[in-house]
């Protein structure tokens, strides 16, 4: 999982694990339940 690197703090190390059992918001689910933007190869 990714770790933060905002432009103003390039050298800082800020662990940022995904919260356990984090559920997708409605907007994300709406996108993922629709057709993909680009088909596979």
């Amino acid at each position: 999982m990714g770790t933060n690197q905002p432009p103003a703090s390039e050298s800082e190390e800020v662990p940022c694990l995904m919260p356990p059992d984090y559920e997708a918001d409605e907007e994300t689910m709406s996108i993922l339940n629709g057709p993909p933007d680009e088909e596979g190869e």
């Binding site: 999982m1 432009p7 694990l17 997708a24």
Partner: protein, 174 residues
């Protein structure tokens, strides 16, 4: 077994990105420690202050692109500026679906082809090849992902995909 293809892709941009000032010179593979949809949602959340270029679903069937290739995703601290980040949906302690790993190898192979990255292990700062997030140590944030699949075999799969080629001209957004 049929040839693996690049997966269909959803475009769902994350605000957690910044201008890339270095040339793309390596690839970092991660694992989300959570399910696909939740991970995509989290990495689009400004509170996360984290992102990746691609999140690949557990079964490899679809991927989501959150950051354009030419932009810097926030996934590996000091390595962000010169790498692309691929998140595998899943948990490090659990075995990955072989279909997901095969698709991941195709994606990484495409990136190697597109950006001239060697299909080999990169160095401790993520230059010159492909690394796991955990290979970067403190330089990459001190994380321990990914796990659940054979890394040496994966590098071999990527090299095989690069040799096979026949990639579409473009996949994903620049």
């Amino acid at each position: 077994m049929a040839n693996v293809t690049l997966p269909p892709i959803y475009w769902t941009e994350s605000p957690n990105q910044s201008k890339r000032s270095e040339r793309i010179a390596g690839i970092v593979v991660h694992e989300t420690e959570g399910a696909f949809a939740g991970a995509v949602s989290w990495l689009r959340n400004p509170q996360a202050q984290a992102s990746a270029h691609i999140v690949l679903k557990e079964d490899g069937s679809v991927a989501a692109q959150l950051v354009p290739w030419t932009q810097k995703a926030w996934h590996a601290v000091n390595a962000n500026g010169h790498t692309l980040g691929l998140e595998l949906a899943g948990k490090t302690a659990e075995t990955n679906n072989p279909a997901q790993i095969a698709r991941a190898a195709r994606i990484v192979g495409y990136w190697c082809h597109r950006f001239g990255i060697p299909a080999r292990k990169g160095n401790a700062h993520g230059y010159g090849g492909i690394v796991r997030h955990r290979d970067l140590g403190v330089y990459g944030g001190g994380h321990y992902d990914p796990g659940g699949f054979d890394w040496d075999a994966f590098i071999g799969q990527v090299a095989a995909e690069l040799r096979r080629g026949h990639f579409r001209p473009t996949w994903g957004r620049d």
